[in-house]
Subunit: 169 residues, 4 copies
């Protein structure tokens, strides 16, 4: 999960953060989802616990856990496939336009009202499909609170100018 071993990977932590700040403000700085590390086929994200994530009883909501897992797997894919070198073409790059097609999530334990950590690990990155998993646990605990497996469609390169379409769910 370190920054070493970047062979083959296309984006490092700083590049991913810059991309998110520009293109996905809902994940970027100041938001509740924080990219903490990327590595070979992996990513670690934090959900900074906020009032809006909570349900009565002090537990973190299912949709918040879903979002954390989904974005964590997507960031791991982004690290592998990148968004290209031409800033003008970033929004149309396969990395920026990758979309979630399927997620299967198991809720294992009720999380406490604390930051949640997601460790994503890719199982396979093909030319057109990537599959990965994410384990979620509360900060300071080893017990998983949820586990998700997701499939992502990687679009083909686009040569022509196409209308900007954003990727992430």
């Amino acid at each position: 999960m370190s920054e070493s071993g970047t062979q083959g990977r296309k984006m490092n932590l700083a590049q991913i953060r810059a991309f998110l700040e520009d293109h996905f403000p809902q994940i970027g700085p100041g938001n509740d989802l924080i990219v903490e590390a990327v590595g070979s086929m992996t990513a670690r994200l934090r959900l900074a616990q906020q009032e809006k994530h909570l349900r009565p009883g002090g537990t973190i909501s299912g949709p918040s856990m879903f979002a954390l897992a989904d974005v964590a797997i997507y960031i791991a894919i982004l690290g592998e496939i990148g968004v290209g070198d031409d800033p003008a073409k970033v929004p149309m790059s396969p990395g920026a336009r990758t979309v979630t097609t399927n997620i299967n999530i198991n809720f294992l334990r009720r999380p406490i009202a604390r930051d949640l950590i997601a460790d994503a690990k890719l199982m396979r990155v093909g030319r057109r499909l990537a599959v990965g998993e994410a384990w979620l646990h509360s900060e300071g605990s080893d017990e998983p609170v949820a586990h998700a497996v997701g499939t992502y469609a990687i679009p083909a390169e686009i040569s022509a100018d196409v209308p900007f379409m954003i990727a992430l769910h």
Copy 2:
């Protein structure tokens, strides 16, 4: 999907709305998730499209779709199993403490920036597990934008006083 055919069902639309208002303010009146109908093994919910659900490009976020599907299936279960007749025991009733254990969601098409409708239908309601599906489509369109299947654990009756634990993710 009508209110008729309530044989076997334990809660009608008005009772479900009252329960949500009291116990799940995040789903109740004034919120973005609206229970429109309940029927035998079914429920229809609406996600009233708001700025916060949108992603750049004007599409509705994955977590918003996940939440809509999850709650729709839960409401269909609630209609079947109810929360009992004793107001004091409602929070401890199996219906109120039912939790999502697994959801598998497929994202089929990019939804437009319009209200989303979820039609939930239960496949099976056992004593301890219920399984249901939800089809999501944009208002005014027949094409599904997402499909989810979920499993829910129904806890046993509690005789003693236990600490209040809220059910829904």
Copy 3:
């Protein structure tokens, strides 16, 4: 589920059966999986109950149900995308090389020792991915015994001669 309404579809029941006989003997005539009908975005298959499908207690095994659901969704896709018109190129056609990438199956009730019917219905057929569901029930009963949702990858056309690779799991 009739043979009418073939607009857009590429193969009818007779063509599918001929293709299976030639290329998937494990599904073809004399075998236990029988294609009973194909329609617009749909297929109906039968698992002819045999001793080898049974578990002690007289119930049909999970892998047998999995196989029935998987093949039923695949056949519905095949009806939509076909295998082309050139017999020499059939094995390399996208339809013949379509593969299952994900299946999520819920076991709802214990099937009795009788033929199982699968009704498959596609949710979406894209250029590269198709998603469909299958409902399984025992012959003579309406109650579903299992429900599956599957994602299938449709390969691109191949121009050059490539080694023969078979499609179906």
Copy 4:
């Protein structure tokens, strides 16, 4: 994955093999599914490659992989919850009557015609539900060919004499 660390576990490898031989002949000795190891919350199984598992092209069929993953997770659960001490009550024990309720399987790579190994690891064993995953790889390779996550329902103890019902899918 060793036999050490049996604290809490209820059955060791020899006990599991004896149970399977008596109650699940389709998994027992002489069959194609071999339990190689059990450990704390884990199990390793082998699918001894046979002609009947193959598809044209020399790849192992999806249903064979599904069966291997399903049984591997079940065996890991069995190691944890056991089948009790009274031989007469084994068939009615919760362990023997545990059933698969949901499996989500991703096919990652085409397996070669060689033995398949499944490494199952439980995520959670509750009183009534257990959730686990299984990674499948070809013997002699580290690359996963499939990954499955499954949910299993653990029935309550039965006091009275009930008709024998077999557990495994």
